[in-house]
Amino acid sequence: MTGAIGWAILIPLGGALLAAAAGERASRWIAALAAAATTCAAIGVAASVARHGPSRHPAGGWLAPLGIELRADGLAATMLLTIAAVAGLVAAHALADRSRAAACARSCPLWLFTWAALDALVVSGDIFNLYVTLELATLAAVGLVADGEGPDAPRAALRYLLFALPGSLLYLLGVALIYGEHGALDPATLGAHVGASAPDTAAMALMTAGLCLKAALFPLHAWPVLAYTRASPVAGALLAGLVGKAAFLVLVRLWLEVYPATFTSAAGPVLGTLAAGAILWGSLHALWQPRLRAVIAYSSVAHTGYLFMWFALGTRDALAGALFVVMSHAAASASMFLATGAIARALGHDRVEGLTGLAHRLPIPFFALALAGTSAMAMPPSSGFVGKWLLVRAAFETGHRLWAAVMLIGGLLAAAYVFRLLRRAFLPRPAGEPIAITRSSGGHAALALALVAIALGLAPGLALDLLRGGSAP
């Protein structure tokens, strides 16, 4: 299946286009088929990487310096699988939801485009191509947010767009400078030439700053929160779960392949400080948010902090840990968003007080929230723990005791804000609150995602081998 990597991008693209053109019922079938096929493609890529190790697929047949290369290595394979799992299950939720069938004509193409963009981003081997994939993901995400029913959707979408644009354009300026200096766009050749010259430094600074804004690293963290709290569950799940991680993955590619380690080691502590800030600031705010979605949004801010800790630590294990946090948080936050969606539909609002006495009334969404919460607070046996363990251990190995302490305190704060939600579920239900118990289809997808987060924690060996098997060069 050498072409699997191509299919992983073309199928969602084609599916999106067909869904956009098709009628209401047909678009749902097309979207479902596309989702299934893309998942198979992703599995195909992962299988080939696991068996034969990394492979290069020059798009259009043009080799490295000239054309764009698609690379299927360990990092790409694991991320493809994660995207397939999360986007697939979110799609299942969107399609299974009878009441919002009409919306599929509008939203199905958008989340298929998002899926295609993320797949393209993860496998892309060209820094300009990364810009295009980032833009596609952002625009599709803006479309999804704009699709929300509330009156505030356009404002949330516009804010999201106007904050994302400067980030990508700073990145583009960085690309321009690097091309100006080395006349090449693929990481392989760039890696060899990029040094500490003025244009390279400026490019690294611009690209990193731009991507930090797009990844919403503290203190640039506030802009996506409005979008998360206003988006529909599907949009929220995709945004917080996957799109939020795209910029980080691009930065990982850059720092691994384009910028030489010595050159960026000086910038590492800067990002480390911001990451620590993100963990503490995000967790603190998640602790007292009145609304469930806001809690999940700030939890994502905190988890972005864990991701960026790799830049300060730099070891291979730390990278495996950060990527594990990507996987576990993608599944966990998506599951939490879907669960919140189901709960909000039943209660009419998503305020935290609404959770009181919910354990028996809405068992499946509650259980999904609990399992996802376990992963969010990085408690064993979830995959969140595996990620945090690798990061904390790497921190101690490289002597960064402060970062280790921050991560551990972050874990405790995470437990605080998760249990603030869960403890209410056991209290008796206040008499007055009506609950519209509809057949909460949202719950099952949320539970499936939460189980993915837990299963990954129980058998991380597979994912770690895949990561190392086709290890990034």
Binding site: L162, F163, P166, G167, L170, A196, T201, A202, M204, A205, L206, T208, A209, C212, L213, P219, L220, H221, A222, W223, V225, L226, F263, T264, A266, A267, P269, V270, L274, L284, H285, W288
Partner: protein
């Protein structure tokens, strides 16, 4: 497993089994019927005199029980006899008691414990049966649901626990890991133990609680009378002897000279003897007087022990003397208790006269009147005193006077008869049998036959007679003097109780204060951190900052600052 071995095992297991069976509703009636005869196998084992040894590896730490030496046999005789008599007596005495079942449960378990500790041949099982007996006896002491019984029970329990802990400490220090140390090696172990003095002290005190040594005796005068009569008989007869058995088993008599310990025992012994008499005489209740008489008699035994400890050469003689003395005391004291029980409630006319006569016989026997087994016991003690100088002999005689005084007191109280007349038939038979056995002891003393001739020779008769006569004379003379004095039973106990109450008040006060202090600390901490108030301002501050951060301009500033810092950091 010879017949004797089976008999020994049955002696322990039968009472225990019956005790448990009573608990089971369906077996209750049958068990209650069998309860009085549970001491029979022990009695038979004691009589036939055969040696036996049973080793059960699995039980506790590998227990061995059996009759292996003369000490075990003598104690088995005395324990079996007393328990058999007490059980027979209780068969009729307890017939109408509403809580009959509970009495028999505790009585059987205590009997099993008592017999077990006699037959036990290793430290662990000795301590096991000793504890079973101690805690079983609580049920007997606190049986009667009156305030005194409950107080007696509480006192008994506290002192028993103290004793248990002292013994536990002693055994742990002495034995260490070799828990299944055979008893016959125990004295050697004590002698060689690096902490010998500490162990000896603990043993003396631990067993002293049971044997009623001075100061540790306070529970005895309170507990024995509170228990029903058969239980009192068993308590004062068999269980006091258990304390002495403990001393004989563990103390290194004849192995090493312990002058210090010896002197202490001697002093404590005689102090107990005379103190017992002094307080006993003033008592109102005959059972309490008998209890004090036990304290004083045990005083003599302690003294004899002191002699043996001080000079190892006299050890065999002393042991023999103590053995016979304890045997005699057990039987006589049990008979006296049962006798007073009957005398106090016998209907007037010939039954009462018969009871009082019987009582007189056992009183004389205990006081050591000539031609009685008491005299024989005293003679063996005198021989011991032979090489210790005249003082020891004189003290012995003074003691004899004291015991006579107490016996006169008992008889006078019994004669005055304040108790209610029992409407139901009285258990004459077991008492009379016990009396007969006591006398018979004279005929076939289980030890040193040759002493018998001495009994009849005129010199010893004279030396036995004068103290008794003097005692009677003093009693009549001092009758009026004694009526004014009224020392509460348990004498020092009142002091201890007040001290104990004060201590407990202090401890619970301290604990309550501790709890209050802890809560105050926690409250102070909460106030100091003032989490709720502080949290509100913190959160308002944080949300204001967060709201500020989410605007465009601040994000722009942050973005550019980050860009510049990154460029600067890696130039």
């Amino acid at each position: 497993m010879t017949a004797n071995d089976a008999l020994a095992v049955a002696a322990i297991v039968l009472p225990l089994a019956v005790g448990v069976a009573i608990g089971i509703r369906s077996l209750r009636e049958a068990a209650l019927a069998a309860a009085p005869w549970t001491a029979l196998p022990a009695f038979v084992a004691a009589l036939d005199g055969g040696a036996s040894s049973v080793h059960a590896d699995a039980l506790l730490f590998g227990t061995t029980i059996g009759v292996e030496d003369v000490v075990t046999r003598v104690f088995l005789v005395l324990t079996a006899t007393v328990w058999l008599a007490s059980a027979a007596y209780a068969r009729t005495y307890m017939a109408w008691d509403p809580r009959r079942a509970r009495y028999w449960v505790f009585a059987s378990i205590t009997a099993s414990g008592n017999i077990g500790l006699v037959l036990a041949q290793d430290v662990a099982s000795f301590y096991l049966f000793y504890s079973v007996m101690t805690f079983g006896a609580y049920g007997l002491v606190a049986h009667v649901s009156t305030a005194e019984a409950r107080r007696a029970g509480a006192v008994y329990l506290k002192m028993a626990l103290l004793g248990e802990m002292l013994l536990l400490a002693a055994f742990v220090i002495l034995v260490g890991a070799r828990i299944d140390l055979p008893l016959h090696e125990a004295p050697r172990a004590v002698a060689d133990s690096p902490h010998r003095d500490l162990v000896v002290g603990l043993l003396l005190a631990g067993f002293g609680v049971k044997a009623g040594a001075i100061v540790l005796h306070v529970w005895l005068p309170v507990a024995h009378p509170a228990a029903p009569t058969p239980a009192s008989a068993a308590l004062s007869g068999a269980m006091i002897a258990a304390g002495v058995l403990g001393w004989l088993r563990f103390l290194p008599l004849g192995i090493v000279a312990l002058p210090g310990a010896g002197r202490i025992c001697l002093a404590a012994g005689f102090a107990a003897a005379f103190y017992g008499v002094a307080v006993g005489v003033t008592q109102r209740d005959p059972k309490t007087v008998l209890a004090y008489s036990s304290v004083s008699q045990m005083g003599f035994v302690t003294a004899a022990l002191g002699v043996a400890l001080a000079s190892p050469s006299t050890a065999p003689l002393a042991t023999a003397a103590i053995l016979f003395y304890v045997l005699h005391h057990a039987l006589a004291k049990a008979a006296l208790f049962l006798g007073t029980g009957i005398a106090m409630t016998a209907p007037t006319g010939w039954p009462r006269r018969l009871a009082l006569a019987g009582l007189l016989v056992s009183a004389l026997d205990l006081a050591g009147a000539p031609l009685s087994s008491g005299a024989l016991a005293k003679i063996s003690l005198k021989h011991l005193a032979a090489d210790r100088g005249a003082a020891f002999g004189m003290l012995l005689s003074a003691g004899a006077i004291g015991s006579t005084l107490l016996m006169v007191r008992v008889l006078s109280l019994a004669a005055a008869r304040r108790g209610p007349v029992a409407r139901r038939p009285l258990p004459w038979v077991p008492w009379l049998l016990l009396l007969a056995l006591d006398v018979a002891l004279l005929a076939a003393p289980p030890i040193d036959r040759e002493r018998l001739e001495l009994l009849v020779d005129p010199a010893s008769v004279a030396s036995a007679a004068w103290p008794v006569l003097a005692g009677i004379a003093i009693a009549f003379a001092g009758r009026r003097l004694v009526r004014g004095l009224a020392i509460p039973p348990g004498d020092l106990l009142v002091v201890f109780e007040r001290v104990g109450a004060w201590l407990r008040a202090r401890i619970t006060g301290a604990v309550r204060a501790g709890v209050r202090a802890e809560d105050a600390l926690r409250a102070w901490l909460a106030r100091r951190v003032a989490v709720p108030r502080r949290r509100q301002t913190l959160l308002r501050e944080a949300s204001r900052l967060e709201h500020g951060l989410s605007g465009f301009a601040p994000t722009g500033v942050a973005l550019l600052v980050l860009g510049i810092v990154l460029a600067w950091a890696s130039r």
